[in-house]
Symmetry: C2
Subunit: 185 residues, 2 copies
């Protein structure tokens, strides 16, 4: 068996990072991360992803306080992230209708998952930590940033120079639990 | 600006590969690709992904002929892929309900998008080409492989040693079209 390659090691190393250093992320690095997402694959090449990068401290904190309030308090730690990326989807009517109705699958979410994971891995290669954020008040984010209806607010991602790695390993399903050759278990 | 890193170059190089060499993919390589997916992030660590790896030539061809028939003929090229991975979701009731109803977002599709893209990038690092497949007859795949109702058939991925790269570049949205600092355009 060949040795693990650089990507393989990066995937093995990647963790959700919630503790960031209290300093900005260089825009050049942010843009290299977004570029990695831009190059992702998408159904019918629709490229449904759009990104609002919040790195202005006052605006970022204002949006974050709204986004992570009330029942969303468990995401309050992300108020301290130096960068928040709001991930939007611009839905393509035809591809999305085919996906949703004929295939019973919203392709644009697979596409955005793939693209944003390229962003997360690229960040790690640049020593930037990230966390996917799914639990936030999307309506308040929409209002604060004047996001028009043509965009669907899908998720957010926090970014920052890594202050601390998680202390504990996440439990993982074994290979046998998730993958089977030539049969369904 | 630092030079591009190994992951960055892999992301820049990655393309959808539809022409494969007529030889099997080593199981050790397949498993390293699945391992990359296994290590993906997921909402509440649900790890919703399951994979049926079809590398038995007779079974793979039988499933493929059913999957890519009728209106799905545009995916017929994938009948020749040495490996087809059927991507399933095992839905977690609570996380999926919260996602679908409160957040209006099916997190499991983002998670699977992220995990499978790690698989695609890992494949490329091992010189294996892949293509996401969204356009196939999911009911027939379910029937041929006796996939129980508890799994949702989400997508497929073809894999093989690369015979030929695509001849043309895909048109890409520019950075300005997809990313904005501190505002929504």
């Amino acid at each position: 068996m060949e040795d693990a390659g650089p990507l393989e090691r990066l995937i093995q190393k990647r963790r959700t990072i919630r503790k960031y250093q209290n300093r900005p992320v260089e825009r050049e690095k942010i843009l290299r991360c977004i570029e990695a997402a831009r190059l992702g694959p998408s159904a019918e090449n629709v490229q449904p992803w759009r990104f609002i990068i919040l790195d202005d401290p006052a605006l970022r904190e204002r949006v974050a306080r709204k986004a992570f309030s009330g029942i969303y308090f468990t995401t309050r730690w992300a108020i301290k992230a130096p960068v928040l990326v709001v991930i939007l989807a611009k839905l393509d009517v035809i591809t999305n209708r085919i996906g949703a109705h004929l295939q019973n699958c919203q392709f644009y979410l697979l596409d955005i998952g793939a693209a944003v994971q390229q962003m997360a891995l690229q960040a790690l290669e640049l020593d930037i930590g990230t966390s996917w954020l799914g639990w936030f008040n999307g309506k308040k984010v929409r209002r604060e940033l004047n996001i028009p209806d043509k965009y669907h607010v899908v998720a957010m991602m926090s970014m920052g120079h890594i202050e601390r790695w998680p202390r504990h390993e996440k439990p993982r399903r074994t290979m046998e639990e998730i993958a089977w050759f030539n049969e369904c278990r």
